[in-house]
Amino acid sequence: MSFSWSEPYKPEGKLWRYLDDRLPIPRMIWDSVGGGYPVPKNLNYAWNFGALAGVALAVQILSGIILAMHYDGSAANAFQSVEHIMRDVNFGWMFRYIHANGASFFFIVVYIHIFRGLYYGSYKEPRELVWMLGVVILLLMMATAFMGYVLPWGQMSYWGATVITGLFSAIPIIGTSLQQWLLGGFSADTPTISRFFALHYILPFVILGTVVLKVWALHLPGSNNPLGIDVKGPQDTIPFHPYFTSKDGFTLVLYFMLFAIVVFFAPNMFGEVDNYIQANPLSTPAHIVPEWYLLPFYAILRSFTVDLFFIPAKLWGVLAMGSAILLLLFMPWLDGSPVRSNKFRPINRFFFFVLVVDIAILGVCGGKPAAEPWVRIAQLASAYYFAHFLIILPIVSRVERPLPVPRSISEAVLEKYSKLGSSIGSARGSMSAGAAVAPMPAE
């Protein structure tokens, strides 16, 4: 595709040539995920999570379509129809647990994917749009997951819908009308379920379309790699197929194993028991929390407890939560370092891990009741979150002198394996560096 040395597609046989002249799908597959797509040969397992995210999306769409066949989207029947799925529909319990836990697994995979991008500088030039499309996907995922969580019409569903649409009421002047517009009433009811169901059904296909754009944009410069340096020539790459199809296949098997363990043996691990109580507009559960994947942002939302500069605390919280995610869009410009990978940026690497811990702390605080000491901890962690992106990262990335970067991927790989090779060689006899570098799929 993007590299001049990529293996061109050669249709073999009459049928394939016929198809190639008329509807070249096999060519497209070959060029995008086949032998025609050269990939840096030093990718580590952190690079497997993009493909896993694609599979997670497919699982959600498939199980979601099945659930939609049995779900009844009205306030009177929604809760019962979910119980109907659990008890009556053949394998309904399985599809619901796949769908509910699939959302959590999707977010786990996507968060690892995002942290990988942050660590190895995948957001930097020339992949800015790849990164920004990814942030758009994250936002779409959050919206989709939130609306999906409302559909079972349990207590958490109802009060989640009330609280999240209530965020919009923080906007001055139009806030209240906006919330009513979103809910289709003065409180969440059948109109809310109907529209959330319609959007929850269509948004995953919007995500799918964005994924196609993202992969398209990615395939121009090709994948980043752990060294963060550009591919210089054919010696730096290997074809996607069979090397990364088989590597992705391997992690896919591990992923499905973990997924099956949760779906079949701990299906309510990520869930809240209160959502097995039917929605009651007259009583809020004592402790309402969003799903775990939204907790860090929920903690930021709750961190603003006093009015500042004529802006009410409620609006501050909403603005902060929104900007916490939108900040990511500006990563390519907040980070001013010429070097992508944190492998060569020790100071920045240190702050990267501090950020990871900070987000984890925010997640814990978001799951706790809004009381001390959690509010104060969340406030400090929120302040640090913004300080990282707006102060620490811009300064450190421009001040830090990176370690020397290897001249090419193949040089770095050869060096690594010649060291390894000599130590293995001394133990096991002769082994050429070339053989160690290029493990081939043959005997």
């Binding site: 053949n90 730096d236 290029a438």
Partner: protein, 189 residues
């Protein structure tokens, strides 16, 4: 497999492709994946079959104590009507006189009723042509030229035993599975 630019030639490049132990791994992996996909397909297909709550309503009990000879009732069963008709002795006599050779779907009344219960003619109220509900069960409805049922959609006419006598329908009205729980209660399904 294509040779990889920048790397040493593989044994394939040198010797050409022959069956290797690795081929066995490929086939085994593919077979395993295919078995997994097939296993996953079973619940995906099965979930569209009738759910447990639908299956739970698959049989019903009908009280037939109030039906007088010559009358019929309609009972909803699995979303379709069932005609429970109590034949008069005259209807039984007329039905039994028809030679089987005259019938499109030859069946005697005895074959279509329970032993000793020849007056209870229980059939699905669904025309065997294209699924309309024939007239003739309720009071005052058109019973058709053979005094049984008449389908208004395409003019199929049935006799009191629900046998097709005229019109496009290919079969007699279907007799559902049923049993007499008592002389006045019949369980259908």
């Amino acid at each position: 497999m294509a040779s990889v630019p920048g790397l040493e030639p593989t044994p394939d490049d040198i010797h050409g492709h022959s069956v290797r132990r690795r081929d066995f791994i490929y086939v085994a992996t593919g077979a395993f994946a295919a078995a997994g996909a097939t296993t996953a397909l079973y619940p995906i297909v099965s979930q569209m079959n009738p759910a447990a709550d639908v299956r739970a309503l698959a049989s019903i009990e009908a009280d037939i104590s109030a039906i007088q000879p010559g009358q019929a009732i309609k009972v909803p069963w699995r979303g379709k009507p069932v005609f429970i008709r109590r034949l008069t002795p005259a209807e039984i006599g007329a039905v039994d006189k028809v030679p089987l050779s005259e019938l499109r779907d030859p069946q005697t009344l005895a074959q279509r009723t329970k032993p000793g219960k020849a007056e209870w003619m229980i059939t699905l109220g669904v025309c065997t042509h294209l699924g309309c509900i024939p007239l003739g069960a309720a009071e005052g409805e058109n019973k058709g030229p053979f005094g049984g049922y008449f389908c208004p959609c395409h003019g199929s006419a049935y006799d009191p035993a629900g046998r097709i006598r005229k019109g496009p329908a290919p079969k007699n009205l279907e007799v559902p599975q049923y049993a007499f729980k008592s002389p006045t209660v019949v369980e259908i399904g």
